[in-house]
């Protein structure tokens, strides 16, 4: 059975197979703690990314984006992972500031969606989601 466009879009916000893969090797509490740590850390990285873009510091923006590639991909935030990878490349290749700023804004929007999905997942597990940064 094929998935609806809405369902596919949700899958890019949060691919449930990644959490399932983590659940296959981690105790439930460790997985919940990891997701909570990811949410807190991602809020901090997005703030750092915004500050770096605003300051025109593309090297710092590339570093923040680089970490986001690894962390977001591990929890299944597929679109965020792809956008972070694109921003890292843009920044390392000397892209114009407005282009980097547009990609950073798209990343912030992707974080909103994927983090909301992860918070719902945490709540479904009976765990409190961390406070927003």
């Amino acid at each position: 059975m094929s998935r609806s466009p809405k369902s596919r879009a949700r899958g890019r916000d949060l691919d449930p197979s990644c959490l399932a893969a983590l659940a296959s090797v981690l105790p439930a509490q460790s997985l919940r703690d990891y997701v909570a740590l990811y949410l807190t850390g991602t809020d901090e990285r997005i703030a750092g990314l915004a500050a770096a873009i605003a300051a025109g510091d593309h090297a710092a923006a590339a570093r923040e984006a680089h970490v986001l590639v690894g962390t977001s991909g591990s929890v299944g935030a597929t679109e965020l992972c792809a956008r972070a990878r694109a921003l890292e490349m843009l920044c390392r290749n000397g892209a114009a500031s407005d282009e980097a700023a547009r990609q950073a804004a798209a990343i912030a929007a992707a974080v909103e969606r994927s983090s909301a999905a992860l918070r719902r997942w945490l709540e479904a597990q009976g765990a409190a989601a961390p406070e927003r940064g």
């Binding site: 893969a21 090797v25 981690l26 460790s30 703690d33 680089h66 970490v67 690894g70 991909g73 990878r85």
Partner: protein, 149 residues
């Protein structure tokens, strides 16, 4: 640094992870501990180079992109050091170019795992390298693996 590196601790199943991102270290730690390993997480190359002589990990997971001292340089310095030069080092990285793979081997890396981390693959490599310790030798100067089956 964690209490686990105190003198007299049992390091038989010690795995060290080096990554400046706390989320990545937590994930490594959770996977390793769930599989029965002792885990110590360090956030810089300098910290792993400063490990006391009595600390003998079975395996080191090493991130490449770290501020100040990157994973390549950390690995090169570890291979020159006396007491950790024969410990398997597995790079964890989002880099996957042919050049990066060659460089990992050239500086003495043993293996290369792509981020985002696939937990099953990481566990598989963790078991592979810790099981092979007795026969492991780091790559030679030409970057060729000399691990014996």
């Amino acid at each position: 640094m964690s209490d686990v590196v105190r003198q007299g601790e049992n390091f038989d199943k010690l795995v060290i992870g080096v990554d400046d991102a706390a989320e990545n270290l937590y994930l490594l730690q959770s996977i390793a501990r769930a599989a029965g390993y002792t885990f110590v997480g360090l956030q810089s190359g300098q910290e792993v180079l400063a490990l006391p002589l009595h600390v003998r990990p079975r395996l080191i997971f090493l991130d490449i992109e770290m501020p100040k001292l990157d994973g390549f340089e950390t690995c090169r310095l570890l291979r020159r050091s006396g007491h950790l030069n024969d410990v398997p080092i597995v790079f964890l990285t989002v880099r996957n170019s042919h050049r990066d793979v060659k460089r990992c081997l050239a500086v003495g890396g043993s293996d290369f795992i792509m981020k985002p981390i696939n937990p099953q693959k990481l566990l598989e490599r963790l078991r592979y390298w810790t099981d092979r310790r007795a026969s492991f030798h780091p790559p030679n100067a030409a970057g060729k693996r000399v691990t014996k089956a």
